[in-house]
Amino acid sequence: MGDHELKLLGMWASPFVLRARLALSFKGLSYEYIEEEIFGNKSALLDKSNPVHKKVPVLIHKDKSICESQIIVEYIDEVFSGTGPSLLPVDPYDRAVARFWAAYIDDKLFSLFMMMIKGKTTEDKAKGRRHSFAVAETLEGALKGCSKGKSFFGGDNVGFLDIVLGGFVAWVHTRDILSRSKQFDAGKTPLLAAWLERFCALDATKAVMPDVEKLVELSKMRQARDDAAAAAVSQSN
């Protein structure tokens, strides 16, 4: 496998870290993984390598730091273009389309998950769920257009956009369990539901997928903590 001199600073529950791990996994690249604590203090290495945001993931390649999950994926694809499959499409137009949907996913999907998880009222949460179905339907259209009838956004093989959405897959499973409904409903978004199953069945995905049961526990713990904090605030008012 060879020493690519790669380190990844991550956190096991983060969808953005998962993206970086998926990219490395699909490219077949070896790296040293360093776990940052969720609720602990940020490590000195994180402070030094991402002084602007102090967030994970950070890819460290021969002492140079690369931050932001999508930027990391593109960097890996460019630097290790000879290793493993190509992640970005070759054609500039296809690349622009993939980047457009990647930006859409980060803009809409992430904030929706936040709304559903952190929504203060049941109404907020319900609003989050409604919007998430609208977003899922839009992504269904994107998948149809990008895949051109094949298995993945990238066509026959997993590509950039599969990995960008793929980062969220563990959270999707977690929300499915907690809400007892499907985020990517086979009735409403059949292509997306099929994609989810197919993507999760791949060895390269399974190799890095976090434990969904642990994510469910973490979600419940965060919810309890938020509820307790909210109760304390309302009691002191």
Binding site: K64, I66, E68, I71, R95, V97, A103
Partner: protein, 213 residues
């Protein structure tokens, strides 16, 4: 749309490449059928239509232009790490600096002084990417200059309209010097919206926003 900083980026990129294009102005209060057809997802400008194929999101359009006309003037850095850095700062400018600047436009007095200070901290972070260079792109204008370049024309204007002082020689010397250098580039100058017209538009907008605040 004539007053959109995002649309300007695309024009700068096309002009640096020497690519001819037809400019179509949109009335954002009454979006054309073409815009809605070309960008049904976000319905925003700018949209570049190349041979009938639409590309949306200005930062994405600029990379598309660089990749499609790859033998022309280089916009993105050649080195992958430098490219990652350019994309990182572009994202920072879009996500953090833009958000930090807007409040200056809609506030007055003490509230404004506070947000000016916050915006300056944000711009100081961005400024580190300029250290030791003429432009963000090095010796020549590049991708990051194009993405951030609207500050050079719009910020002094916003300062004038809002009565604030943001990019000064004391606080942001590198950025101020870059503003002058950037606006002196012929290709950049050629695509700027008329200052007086922009000033009038923003004066009216500020009055509206401040009075309804």
């Amino acid at each position: 749309m004539w007053a959109s900083p995002m649309a300007i980026r695309v024009e700068w990129a096309l002009r640096l490449k020497g690519v001819e294009y037809e400019y179509v102005d949109e009335d954002l209060g009454n979006k054309s059928e073409a815009l809605l057809r070309y960008n049904p997802v976000t319905k925003k400008i700018p949209v570049l239509v190349d041979d009938g194929k639409p590309i949306a999101e200005s930062t994405i359009i600029v990379e598309y232009i660089d990749e499609t006309w790859k033998d022309g003037y280089p916009l993105m850095p050649a080195d992958p790490y430098e490219r990652a850095q350019a994309r990182f700062w572009a994202r920072f400018a879009e996500d953090k600096c833009n958000a930090a600047l807007y409040p200056i436009f809609v506030t007055t007095g003490e509230a404004q002084r506070k947000v000016v200070h916050e915006a300056q901290q944000c711009l100081k972070t961005l400024e580190t990417a300029l250290k030791g260079k003429k432009f963000f792109g090095g010796d020549n204008v590049g991708y990051l200059d194009i993405i951030v370049g609207w500050f050079a024309h719009w910020l002094p204007l916003i300062e004038e309209v809002s009565g604030a002082s943001v990019v000064t020689d004391e606080e942001l010397p590198l950025m101020k010097a870059w503003f002058d250098r950037f606006l002196a580039v012929d290709v950049i100058k050629a695509a700027l919206p008329d200052r007086d017209r922009l000033l009038a538009l923003n004066k009216a907008r500020r009055e509206q926003l401040v009075s309804s605040a």
